[in-house]
């Protein structure tokens, strides 16, 4: 008994000596529920397990997305979370790094915008502000890389992976040489839909989506699936090319007059699907419409335009309030061209009402794009047909998007030919690969522009300490996550700029040396100590701000 008491006292003394700061509180690592996202759930379990090895008490807690969004995204004052699994999804316009590298980490967006983790670093702010107005691509590339290096040093998040999305198509129906892989997006993209050449008399492309189409509206950014449709019905002045760069589309050419002035020449001979000609007035209207209050989701993309005017019947001049490197991608390749003769009266009417253009649904949507609207049966399908008058007329006759909520059934349909392009598959990618073996089915997995990560709330210790964040991040072996959680369908990440965007990616940024011992070393160096029970304490003098 005496021995025991002695040992106890010795341990307490030892604990008091070793552990100088307060014990670090217990953490909840939030994620969506297993049903909503099994991969994220699995990754969260593994992350919590790794961090417990550092002497932290981390519990994984899964809550439905609506509640997670409320806690993490909406309730910022005061925020009530420490760490959460989070994701940024890939979109064609995110192939310019500006949106993610600026909005996610610039201190100005911490209160209400994308920087929900409240990362704040004046040096970083200056670099991303500079890249925004740098119109020379090489100089801008240097700034983008510099920004990624600052993030690598500060580790505002623990970036985990850039997922790979697998799509598949019938190689006996579509000529594989005409199926285009767009960097960061995959083979399900605008270029494939326009270019795919049929090998047989099956000239209808039949695709699938697991989620319903919410709206078909050129002035509203709704569900992800909806954007596949709007891209096809409505033209844009520029398009993001398969390589990820903004290139002339409905514009024949563009010309930077100076840093803040750009002249765009409209392609001649274009018509709307109702037969009316596409004019420069339509173009001017298309960019002015979102500047009002009728299209709030598009408003940020035109807010940098100080003035827009038609110079002659083919040319439009944009004057920017300040130089903008992302203007081509984020504005000219983003805004849908809409007919003034249709939307003018609609917007006039809406301006007197509570509703805005986002809730308006045209009976028959009219654009000028390579596909025309035919029919939309809610919860069933959307049918488009080729616009043979278009300057880039599609090879296929009809584009038919089927809503198939049953992932296993969609695989069966691909094999039977009821579908000939698997454009949405949320099931296990390994099952897709197995199903396709010995079949005329090509499976193509592409690295996404988006990424999955663990976000830290920087508003409170210990997450305000870069060394602490760095230790946590380096405790995670990315390749292990790629295999264990993502079944090989992902690549390691250490940056918001996906490796899919070759030009903008900082070389070697994902070559992270990781390991539990390495992480422990970083913590020890920063003054964090372990007590006798193996629990991590703050450095000397730092006190716990939160109760447990």
């Amino acid at each position: 008994m005496k021995k025991f008491v002695f040992a106890l006292v010795a341990m307490m003394l030892a604990a008091a000596v070793w552990a100088e700061g307060d014990q670090i509180r217990s953490f909840e690592l939030l994620s969506r529920t297993q049903a909503e996202d099994p991969t994220e759930f699995q990754a969260a379990q593994l992350v919590a397990q790794e961090w417990r090895k550092l002497g932290l008490d981390v519990e994984h807690k899964a809550i439905p997305w609506e509640q997670l969004a409320q806690v993490v995204w909406f309730d910022r004052d005061p925020p009530d979370w420490d760490m959460t699994m989070w994701r940024m999804v890939g979109r064609p316009e995110r192939s310019d790094p500006d949106e993610l590298i600026y909005n996610l980490f610039h201190s100005s967006t911490a209160d209400a915008g994308y920087n929900f983790i409240a990362y704040s670093n004046p040096e970083y702010d200056a670099v991303v502000e500079a890249q925004r107005v740098e119109t020379d691509p090489d100089a801008r590339q240097a700034l983008i890389i510099q920004a990624q290096e600052i993030l690598d040093r500060d580790q505002p998040n623990a970036f985990l992976v850039h997922p790979q999305q697998a799509y598949a198509y019938r190689s006996d129906i579509w000529d594989p040489a005409t199926v285009v892989e767009q960097s960061g997006i995959g083979i399900k993209n605008f270029w494939t839909f326009v270019d795919a050449a049929p090998l047989t008399d099956q000239r209808d492309m039949i695709l699938n989506s697991g989620v319903v189409v919410q709206a078909i509206n050129p002035l509203y950014i709704s569900g992800a699936t909806d954007s596949w449709i709007t891209e096809l019905i409505w033209d844009r002045l520029l398009r993001i090319s398969p390589e990820g760069l903004a290139e002339p589309w409905a514009a024949e050419s563009y010309n930077w007059v100076d840093d803040t002035t750009i002249d765009v020449t409209l392609r001649s001979g274009m018509t709307w699907h109702d037969g009316e000609p596409v004019t420069v007035e339509d173009v001017v209207f298309s960019f002015q419409a979102p500047q009002g209050d009728e299209s709030p989701m598009y408003k940020p993309f035109v807010s940098g335009i100080a003035d827009i005017a038609a110079l002659d019947e083919n040319t439009v001049r944009f004057t920017l309030s300040q130089p903008s490197a992302a203007f081509l991608t984020a504005t000219l390749a983003k805004i849908n061209l809409v007919p003034l003769h249709i939307w003018g009266p609609i917007l006039d009417d809406l301006s007197t009402k509570d509703e805005n253009a986002e809730s308006y649904q045209e009976e028959i949507p009219i654009g000028s794009g390579p596909f025309k609207y035919v029919n939309w049966l809610r919860s069933q399908e959307v049918v488009l047909e080729a616009n043979t008058e278009h300057f880039s007329a599609p090879e296929i006759d009809r584009w038919i998007l089927r809503i198939i909520p049953n992932a296993e059934a969609s695989l069966g349909m691909l094999r039977s030919g009821e579908l000939n392009f698997l454009s949405g598959y949320l099931g296990d990618p390994q099952v897709l690969v197995q199903t396709s073996e010995g079949q005329p089915i090509d499976v193509v997995a592409s690295t996404e522009v988006g990424f999955r990560y663990v976000a830290f709330n920087h508003r409170a210790a210990p997450f305000d300490d870069p060394a602490f964040r760095r230790a946590l991040s380096l405790a995670l072996n990315r390749n292990f996550f790629v295999q264990a959680a993502y079944k090989g369908f992902a690549v390691p990440s250490n940056s918001p700029v996906s490796t899919a965007l070759g030009f903008w990616t900082a070389p070697g940024i994902t070559d992270l040396e990781t390991g539990i011992e390495l992480a422990k070393g970083i913590l020890a160096e920063a003054g964090y100590t372990l007590d006798g029970r193996g629990r991590l304490h703050y450095p000397d003098g730092v006190t716990e701000q939160h109760g447990n």
Binding site: Q67, S379, R415, S416
Partner: protein
């Protein structure tokens, strides 16, 4: 008591029930945790935009004001606009309603025809080997999860044999001159077959077991013995006398089954990618789309209350002894 005041009372009762349902629905969704904006936050989103969306749907006003507007609109037959899907709640429900009704009625009618006939037959063959095999089989299909049954049928009839399409209500891009042609086309029936069969197999157990137990009970009754003594044939006794009386509870079950099945087919709808109300409803609840969820539940409540009413009517025509309680005074 006159028939008119009886009808009036019934009507008031129905209005009261509908008001109660509407009120519960309204507060149920607003008390649920989570922001209705959550489904929106992926695109670039500022504080100003969030507020504009709240304004657009009237979510910035006090709850009692929202409630008042909601009830007023309901009176006008306006179920509001969906938060996430374009168009009014009424138009969304109207679009999927025919598919729901088609699936529900076809499978229920098949299930009840088979169930009633088989139930009567089994009562007649009480104690036979046939009954010994059939009853466990019926209990198994009734207990089997619908999605499992659906996937088995899908794997066999669609993926293996290729006889039926694997999902959807119509072939890709199929065009029809009007809705009548659409819903009575061979294409539609071909698509309806597997989901209808799955649901019918799942649903037939209830009428079968109900019919069986009623028949067994009634066949002990004096009037059946009386009929036997009169020398009537077994067939006549079974169909004309016993079955008619045994049918009463089955009719009630059928009418209520329609109401229940209208919004409750979500599993079969998902397995077969059927564009029905169940999927709309589940999605609306999951994404906090209050108006759509409220509207869909309300429509289901209306159907249920209406079917209850029909069940009452059928009851009194099938059995003259049953009429309103007032008549006995």
């Amino acid at each position: 008591m006159t028939g008119i005041s009886r009808f009036g009372r019934r009507f008031l009762q129905m209005v009261f029930v509908l008001w109660a349902v509407a009120t519960i629905l309204f507060f149920l969704f607003r008390l649920a945790p989570g922001s209705p904006l959550a489904a929106y936050i992926e695109p670039t989103f500022t504080q100003e935009q969030q507020e504009s969306i709240l304004r657009r749907f009237g979510l910035d006003r006090p709850v009692h004001v929202q409630y008042g507007i909601y009830l007023l609109n309901l009176l006008k037959g306006d179920l509001g606009d969906s938060f996430h899907l374009s168009g009014s709640v009424a138009s969304i429900v109207r679009d999927v309603f025919p598919y729901t009704i088609a699936l529900t009625l076809v499978s229920l009618i098949i299930a009840y025809i088979i169930g009633v006939l088989a139930g009567a037959f089994l009562a007649w063959r009480r104690g036979s080997v046939f009954e010994g095999i059939t009853i466990p089989l019926v209990l198994t299909t009734r207990a089997a999860p619908e999605f499992w049954l659906g996937m088995i049928l899908l794997a066999f009839f669609s993926f293996k044999l290729g006889w039926f399409p694997a999902g959807g209500a119509l072939s890709p891009g199929a065009e029809f001159p009007n809705n009548f042609a659409r819903f009575f086309s061979f294409d539609f029936l071909r698509h309806l077959f597997l989901p209808g069969l799955t649901l019918a197999i799942y649903l037939h157990g209830l009428p079968l077991l109900l019919m069986l137990s009623n028949m067994l009970e009634i066949m002990q009754d004096d009037f059946v013995t009386m009929a036997e003594m009169k020398g009537l044939s077994t067939w006549t006794i079974l169909v004309r006398h016993a079955a008619r009386n045994a049918l009463l509870p089955v009719v009630t079950a059928f009418a209520l089954g329609v109401g229940y099945s209208i919004g409750g087919n979500v599993v079969v709808e998902t397995v077969f990618s059927w564009p029905g109300l169940g999927r709309v409803l589940v999605r609306a609840v999951a994404s906090s789309d209050y108006p759509l969820a409220q509207g869909a539940f309300f429509v289901i409540a209306v159907v249920m209350i209406f079917m209850n009413f029909i069940a009452d009517l059928l009851y009194s025509s099938l059995d003259p002894r049953v009429s309103s309680g007032d008549a006995k005074h």
